[in-house]
Subunit: 406 residues, 2 copies
């Protein structure tokens, strides 16, 4: 049994939907049970949001979910018709019909439970089952949507509920790369990557799958196959690689320029200062990433953290406010930063990765402003202008360039 997810560009036109139908036919002829999860046709969700905002500047989440859910229902009904058109038996099911039960937090709902009964019954009748991605229903039978990456999440959760053999994520790229190929032309497509590695890459700013879906796939150990709906080439399989005897040290490198560094200068070096600061920041929902506190000097210390640009205003205001209360001298803000991160499970058993990283940057005369490490990753904040050079130099130094890997 295979669960396939097709994103918005994959079902973005009449022709694309028909191409997807043909692809599905190949699986059915191969004897597979196929469950398809589809997103809204590309552009539809945005135009619905545009309509909503003409109604009221801040549409209520419950009604927005009711509205946006029509996008997937449309593409799924059309895909079922396209499957009929080429002689396959198919049925479309929305979140309520499948029984995708979520919590009541509209626009960012979490899946609580999936009732696989209806899907299994339709599969037994020999049907391809086409399920609306991105949505479920609350205990009240109200429509809820799952937020960013929601359709991927629907697919993975359904695959878990049905104990599918694999969940294929069809998209407009042909897999996951060792680094962004637009920046590193020698970046290579990965055949396999571990759940933990891709989670770390996603967290470090690589534009890969949303981490919610990967976490669910990891929890239920469902292999994900990220591949292109525009070709038949194999993509990248995300799975548990724990059993492999030998790991490459570094699997991929991520670069993000979307963060800002905030420094609270001269914080009195007393217990509880950092706690107070980050407690307040979490209260305003600021998405904090790296946190670094330097050694104290003169009974004062500096605390720095990075935050997504969209959260800068509230994070800065909050930090200002708390700084005043705790007697810190000032709050400084630096938008001119990039963050480069190297990720690989192999790091755990290989010493020297950090020192190689630092010396590569030094050799390229790139100053490191902040460092943060996890078990399987190292991140460095540097000046924005050096971001791409750092990415390329590290990619080469860790043997990820295609010519070297081959």
């Amino acid at each position: 049994m295979v669960v396939q997810k097709y994103g918005g560009t994959s079902v973005g036109s009449v022709e694309r939907i028909q191409a997807v139908a043909k692809r599905i036919k190949g699986y059915v002829e191969n004897g597979d049970d196929v469950v398809v999860v589809a997103s809204a046709m590309s552009g539809v969700t945005d135009s619905l949001i545009g309509l909503a905002q003409q109604m009221t500047p801040q549409p209520a989440d419950r009604e927005l979910d009711m509205l946006l859910a029509t996008g997937e229902q449309t593409s799924c009904a059309l895909l079922a018709m396209a499957l009929h058109g080429i002689g396959l038996d198919a049925i479309s099911l929305n979140g309520s019909q499948v029984g995708i039960r979520t919590d009541p937090f509209h626009s960012k709902a979490k899946i609580l439970q999936i009732d696989g009964k209806r899907i299994r019954a339709e599969l037994r009748r020999g049907k391809v089952v086409v399920v609306t991605g991105f949505q479920g229903t609350t205990a009240l039978n109200d429509i809820s949507t799952l937020g960013r990456g929601g359709s991927d999440l629907s697919a993975v959760a359904i695959a878990a509920a049905l104990k599918a053999d694999v969940c294929e994520i069809f998209t407009d790229v042909d897999g996951i790369y060792t680094a962004d190929p637009r920046v590193v032309p020698d970046a290579g497509k990965l055949d396999v990557i571990d759940f933990d590695e891709i989670l770390e890459l996603a967290a470090r700013g690589a534009k890969v799958m949303h981490s919610r879906s990967i976490e669910v796939a990891k929890k239920y150990n469902i292999p994900l196959h990220v591949r292109s709906s525009f070709s038949d080439k194999e993509g990248t399989i995300i799975m548990s690689t724990r059993s492999s005897i030998e790991e490459p040290v570094v699997r991929g490198i991520a670069l993000t320029e979307k963060e800002v560094k905030i420094t609270i200068a001269d914080v009195p070096d007393k217990p509880g200062m950092a706690a107070m600061m980050f407690d307040e920041l979490s209260r305003v929902n600021a998405n904090i990433d790296m946190i670094v506190q330097n050694v104290s000097h003169d009974r004062h210390t500096d605390i720095s953290f990075t935050v997504e640009k969209g959260d800068l205003r509230k994070a800065y205001d909050t930090a200002k406010d708390v700084a005043k209360r705790i007697g810190a001298r000032d709050v400084l803000c630096d938008e001119d930063i990039a963050k480069v991160s190297i990720v690989g499970i192999g790091m755990r058993s290989h010493s020297g990765v950090a020192s190689t990283c630092f010396s590569v940057l030094a050799k390229n005369k790139i100053n490191i402003e902040m460092i943060s490490t996890s078990e399987i990753s190292i991140s460095c904040v540097i000046k924005k202008q050096y971001g791409k050079d750092a990415l390329k130099a590290l990619h080469a130094a860790f043997g990820l360039d295609r010519k070297k890997r081959g």
Copy 2:
């Protein structure tokens, strides 16, 4: 409590939806509990059908229902947002959420039952409840649509389930007229019309509400108020007028040019011939209207009936077939006809309506080809070219012209 239904043109644009929201606000400020039933924005249903036909020439009804239902869900979510935008509490509910249970006949489902619980609960919370018209769900929780006139039917059925005081049908005309005002400039808007009269007018081809909805309203005795969403003028109230002491003899006159006359010539005059003919015709779902059988001559008789133009082919073929089997001489077909009908409950107690009708036509040198009468109507088939003149002459003769009524 009032149930209001807004058709596709009434919610056909952002501006129209906002105008509807303002109108609803007036009712809420007046202390009314308001349940709103909305159609899809005009044009949306047709464009969805167009998309579906690009997928497969004959889309399956179940999937078409899944697809088309998104139209009402969209307009209802937008209307709820527009209501929020002007400070009203509102919630949109689809067929599944309301609990509009239908039979499993997709695209032409019949409502079996409406669970008023959710609507009542939301009204108690002080909300305007916006319900998707035209749709319900089957026992399997599949989406079903109600076919032609479906949104009117949803509104009337909800009004009946909630025992509403009135069901207002907002449309792009300002009420029901004594005759089509495009043909009879002196036609006047009716203030009141009886359920039976409008059912008869609808059956005789007047472009008024679909008879399904009127039948339900009559059964549960829910007054319907047909009025314009583009003005504040009162429209026409459809209700039981049985209690009125005095009735006008004729309430309105209908003209249709959409029917064709088929004559089976020289049918052997034996029992069971007509039964066999119309049994076969009903088996192919031909929509038969008037049936007339002349007196027999020479042990043979002629049977004529009218049928909607769209059903001509199947009706003609079936009639040919049966005619051969029963030994009738020929089947003739006449497309050059119009049918004019006068309708009024007052006819029951007034003699002479038929003779007035026939003599008005005679005075205008219009030959009558078929006559059929019911308790409250008289219909005459005439040559198509005389249809409009007949309508005008009868309208004046029965005192319906505005100058006379005033």
